[in-house]
Amino acid sequence: MSLLQSMAQRDRVFDFLVPSESPVDVRHGPILYMEDVTVSFDGFKAINDLNLTIDDGELRCIIGPNGAGKTTMMDIITGKTRPDTGSVWFGSRHNLLTLSEPEIARLGIGRKFQKPTVFEALTVFENLELAMATDKRVLPTLMARMNGDIRDRIDEVLGMIGLEAQYRQPAGILSHGQKQWLEIGMLLMQRPRLLLVDEPVAGMTEQEMERTAELLTGLAGKQSVVVVEHDMGFVRSIARKVTVLHQGSVLAEGTMDQVQSDPKVIEVYLGESEEAA
């Protein structure tokens, strides 16, 4: 069966079969729409009948205990993992399940990994340069020239993430927090419509957390942002709407206060976390 499916996905072999990259259609509201998605690994259902809708321009926090399926959900959206059943749409035009990782990235979904991954051998400036939304095929990349517009865009993002002074340093010598910001900056260079951010404040100091919160809330409105986070204090400081995942499906959804008073949620997650805090 999977062989048949992979043979049917001829577009992943022949480029000319790929639908041309058309703009994302958000006239009907949501920018991301996941319906009845299920994924199992060796019989374990990491995602179980998940339904999730993200509106255009929204800042959404997703919380849930370990193993709730948060990272798997991001893997599905970015094309790294294919679900067994269900559908995932970006706007109302693009079926993400038929696209490859780079195609999804080019459509405008940017992802920040849990562990900061920047290109350590390259400078901060070069990291941002590579992330810039532009023609990323091999020959155009070979011929690419630096120009004033690109430099301005990079300077603008350098300002947003507060790394102007470090732009010539190799990314490898940045502090943990600075790497996280650089990675968010790289996502911004792609001018994404939807940003997926996985645990942005893990291992950050109090001050770094505040700066990150400012950065993310500043982005919402222009971009849709989905933040997966463990730190409840941080979630409270930025979230307008919170989704609680549990065992691969949505347990509750609403404002932070609504979610916190939900007895189901208290039972599986918030209760223990509040005690710990």
Binding site: F119, L142, A144
Partner: protein, 374 residues
């Protein structure tokens, strides 16, 4: 085409080209102008030897391009080198004409010996340089394209890729050993006479081949530097260090890898084609896995991801090999192994790493001096 001009803005490239051109001119002058018997006289034999080193240096640059910048440790680049060599060898065979031992107007000696009555189809056209010389790049390029397409599409990387490149060159060696392949079996192709109408055994032609190899090395070096300093070069480094991240940025990493791998294979083919007329023979031993590993040792000794380090490594190791095998032939492999271990332990960045460190140190002391006076 501004990207091809980019290397000329780098000091290291200008120094490299300066040193290389000086060496080419110096050898030419010492060979032609200085009288024989003078201590500075460079004999035709030595010119020939230098030419061989330069073709190895070009091969090492090709390997450093994929290993240093893309992180693909190819243990099969000898195969591309040998394919380029065979394409040149086939041309040289056809140039022998009726002067072979059997005097057959069309068939090379070994085919007459095997009682073949006609030329196999894949030998057609190799009597013309217009077909044979492009094949020097096309044959290895095509192999790299097919091999790389399959390997990179399946996301085979790291040690697994190294192993299959090794298997590829080993399989080709076994195939070329067979007489039925039509490439001369274990004797290979040899007994060459002319290249482009010039007598291969004359001193002038040897000097010409040496100079041509030097120029090919300079051009190959500039091409690699141009790729490395372009945005594509930075994407290579990005893919080397964090492949998944590069994919999520929207780059098709497998295509970048394929492109650079094919360019590298073609350069290796050119190196092989320049090597064959200078040593006068090509046989399946060039496909041997050991040779491909030796190339990697040159690059590691010289220093990865600098390109000029690969040149230094290739020339030094092969010079040492010439000297050593003259004194005690049996000890050479031990010496090579020992050298490799020493460099890995003491100079992890190779000889180029030591050079870069000295330059940086000098730069720092100069800056200190300026600050002190200011």
């Amino acid at each position: 085409m501004h990207w091809l001009g980019q290397p000329f803005k780098e000091r290291s490239t200008l120094i490299f080209l300066g040193v290389l051109l000086t060496a080419l001119v110096a050898v030419t002058v010492l060979h032609l102008v200085v009288p024989q018997g003078h201590p500075l006289y460079v004999s035709a034999y030595t010119v020939n030897l230098f030419g061989k080193y330069l073709s190895y240096a070009l091969l090492a640059v090709a390997v450093d391009l994929v290993w240093g910048y893309l992180g693909i440790l190819s243990l099969g680049h000898g195969a591309f080198f040998a394919l380029g060599g065979y394409a040149m060898g086939m041309y040289l065979m056809r140039q022998i004409g009726e002067r072979g031992v059997y005097g057959h107007p069309v068939l090379p000696d070994f085919m007459v010996f095997l009682n073949w009555d006609s030329l196999p189809w894949y030998w057609y056209g190799f009597d013309s340089a217009w077909i044979a010389f492009p094949m020097v790049m096309l044959a290895p390029g095509l192999l790299a394209l097919v091999f790389g397409f399959l390997a990179f599409r399946s996301r085979v990387t790291g040690v697994y890729l190294s192993i299959i490149t090794q298997a590829m060159t080993f399989a080709l060696m076994l195939a070329f050993f067979r007489n039925e392949m039509g490439f001369g079996g274990n004797n290979g192709l040899t007994d060459f006479r002319d290249i482009l109408g010039f007598d291969l055994r004359s001193d002038q032609v040897r000097l010409g081949l040496f100079l041509a190899t030097g120029i090919a090395l300079a051009l190959g070096f500039v091409l690699c530097r141009a790729i490395v300093t372009s945005k594509l070069g930075r994407v290579c480094v990005a893919a080397r260090d964090a492949e998944a991240r590069t994919r999520f940025l929207g780059y098709r990493v497998e295509r970048v890898q394929l492109f650079v791998f094919v360019v590298s294979a073609m350069l290796a083919g050119v190196a092989g084609a320049l090597y064959v007329p200078q040593v006068g023979i090509i046989n399946p031993s060039e496909f041997s896995p050991l040779f491909s590993i030796e190339i990697v040792v040159w690059v590691a000794l010289g220093g990865r991801a600098t390109l000029y380090g690969a040149v230094i490594g290739a020339i030094l190791v092969n010079y040492a090999k010439t000297v050593f095998t003259g004194i005690m032939p049996d000890a050479w492999l031990f010496a090579l192994g020992g050298l490799f271990v020493l460099v890995t332990v003491l100079l992890p960045k190779g000889i180029a790493g030591v050079l870069a460190y000295r330059v940086r140190k000098r730069g720092v002391t100069e800056n200190d001096g300026k600050e002190a006076t200011a």
